[in-house]
């Protein structure tokens, strides 16, 4: 009797979430996969083209340019968000005074909307009236001035900088929590055995926070794969595709060029890259550990 009541209760309680989740998350993902196999402008009838969109993608120079841009973003994220975040967290973990203050301050950019951060930086970058070139002038570094956002050589880095800057704090805070969980005794005994700071770090601390490190790497890579807001608000991906990323290209293809099928194929590639990377990375890490 109780069993049956339980089943009804459990079923009823979980149902709203299951319905909403299936209808608006799982089903749409399947829809995306389906669209990627068609040619469709969103209005008239769909045409089934099998893997035709994917074949077109392979030959698409614009697509590979944005993939390369995204790849650069991933690389910089790993170095300056995960790497620098870890380094700063390690420094911060040893600080006695003002610890909470530092932690609070560093995290502030993380909670702001990417659109606002992007807009803020686009003001900085203005070649005539922006404070960046102004600052370079006042530091007698005028030769370093650029047309940050219109010069194809600088625009990608200019657009990547705010994204990297914004989320360093997130990684600092995550690593900080992880480092603080490392048992004091381990660090102490390593020091007593004569280990210098880098030995202590690599041989004692890193193994302890290894799981967290892996999560952060995955977070940085999948986050970079999703990058849209910053580039959109600063340059809309221009000039050309110089500062565009895969998600931006997908958006333009689907919603500006009205190529739903082709855009969906791009979306699937984003999914595929994320899934592939996660699986491969976890496998490599498992092997490294042994």
């Amino acid at each position: 009797m109780r069993r049956k009541h339980d089943a009804v209760f459990y079923g009823g309680f979980v149902l709203p979430a299951v319905i909403v989740y299936t209808l608006f998350m799982i089903y749409p993902v399947a829809m995306s996969a389906g669209y990627s196999l068609t040619e469709w402008n969103g209005v008239t009838a769909k045409t089934f083209v099998g893997l035709g969109n994917y074949q077109e993608l392979i030959a698409d120079g614009d697509y590979w340019q944005v993939v390369r841009n995204t790849g650069q973003l991933i690389a910089y994220s790993l170095i300056f968000q995960v790497g620098a975040g870890l380094a700063i967290a390690y420094l911060l973990a040893k600080v006695m005074h003002g610890f909470r203050f530092f932690r609070s301050v560093i995290f502030i950019p993380v909670i702001i909307s990417p659109v606002a951060i992007g807009l803020m930086f686009s003001l900085f970058y203005n070649s005539d009236t922006g404070p960046l070139n102004h600052l370079l002038d006042s530091l007698s570094l005028s030769s370093w001035k650029r047309q940050w956002l219109s010069d194809p050589h600088t625009v990608l880095k200019a657009v990547m900088a705010p994204q990297i800057w914004q989320y360093i704090g997130l990684y600092v805070v995550i690593f900080l929590a992880a480092i603080q969980q490392v048992p004091e005794e381990l660090v102490e005994s390593a020091r007593m055995d004569g280990a210098g700071p880098s030995r202590t770090f690599f041989n004692v601390v890193m193994p302890q926070i290894w799981d967290v490190f892996q999560v952060c790497v995955i977070l940085a890579v999948t986050g970079s794969l999703k990058s849209f807001d910053h580039a959109w608000v600063i340059t809309s991906g221009g000039p050309g595709n110089a500062s565009s990323f895969i998600a931006l290209q997908m958006f333009k293809t689907a919603f500006i060029s009205n190529q739903i099928g082709y855009g969906s194929a791009m979306t699937i590639t984003i999914l595929a890259y994320a899934a592939l990377f996660t699986m491969l990375f976890k496998r490599i890490c498992a092997r490294l550990y042994n």
């Binding site: 749409p28 600080v95 998600a247």
Partner: protein, 271 residues
């Protein structure tokens, strides 16, 4: 030796902290200047404090309308998400053999939300929910539901069953037990997930942009984005607009810092 290390460490951290704060300082200070002062004296305090910039941006640029839209959408999305998320997490936490269901829900954490951008547009169009707050709210609920269930599951598992059993003996039904006993105990978890969800909704741009096109319904992020158009040459107004969009976040951060940090690091760090 120790001292020098400590000092240089402090210096590095101080430089880093300053570089984090400086852009916000510049925006804040510029919002009170006029555009000539911003160019002539970018880093100092304003000579005259132009509060008018804020009045302009609030009224003329319609930021007030976008502000309330964002508030409404975010609040509703969080409320719905917490309710159905807590209910689902409760079932997962209490029922044996819910492995499959748990895996099903947490799968969503791995799905990049862009994967449902195009289909969301098509689906909502078919349901006549484009340009409606409700449509966007549904999408926001779903985007955050997986993480919500994941985090709340952890919290609810930690609540001892004895309390619920005692309530059952006292004649409480399952639903009443959930509402009056379990939910109040889960408040820290709800606060964490709720704050995080609110931030995600408030700061979200792409889905709002794609799913809401009609002026009166737009969100604050769209309003900020619009500052790149019409007012883009008047830096003072743009900065005022930026401050307006960031101020609620700074406030929420000051009040709920612990919850936000916990929410964002949940799943990354156990414990």
């Amino acid at each position: 030796m120790r001292r020098a290390a400590g000092l240089s460490r402090g210096l590095v951290l101080a430089v880093f902290a300053l570089s984090t704060l400086f852009p916000f300082y510049w925006v804040l200070v510029s919002s009170f200047k006029d555009k000539h002062q911003i160019y002539a004296n970018p880093f100092g305090l304003p000579a005259n404090w132009h509060w008018g910039n804020y009045a302009d941006i609030w009224q003329t640029a319609h930021l007030s309308r976008y502000f309330w839209n964002s508030l409404f959408i975010s609040a509703c999305a969080v409320a719905i998400m917490l309710l159905i998320g807590a209910m689902a997490a409760y079932v997962l936490a209490r029922r044996e053999k819910s492995g499959w269901l748990y895996a099903y829900f947490t799968l969503g954490i791995m799905i990049p939300v862009h994967a449902i951008l195009i289909p969301s547009f098509v689906l909502l169009k078919q349901l006549h929910l484009l340009n409606s707050h409700f449509g966007l709210i549904l999408i926001y609920v779903v985007s955050n539901l997986s993480l919500c269930v994941f985090i709340l599951h952890g919290f609810l598992k930690g609540i001892p069953r004895e309390l619920e059993e005692a309530a059952a003996i006292d004649g409480y039904g399952r639903v009443r037990t959930f509402v009056s006993i379990v939910l109040p105990l889960a408040k820290p978890g709800l606060a964490t997930v709720g704050t995080l969800g609110f931030l995600n909704c408030w700061n979200e741009y792409l889905f709002a942009y794609v799913l809401i096109g009609s002026e009166p319904s737009k969100t604050l992020t769209q309003g900020v984005m619009a500052l790149t158009g019409q007012y883009s040459t008047d830096y003072a107004l743009v900065c005022a607009g930026l401050v307006v969009s960031m101020l609620p976040l700074w406030l929420v951060y000051m009040l709920f810092q612990e919850q936000i940090v916990k929410g964002m690091t949940a799943g990354a760090v156990k414990g």
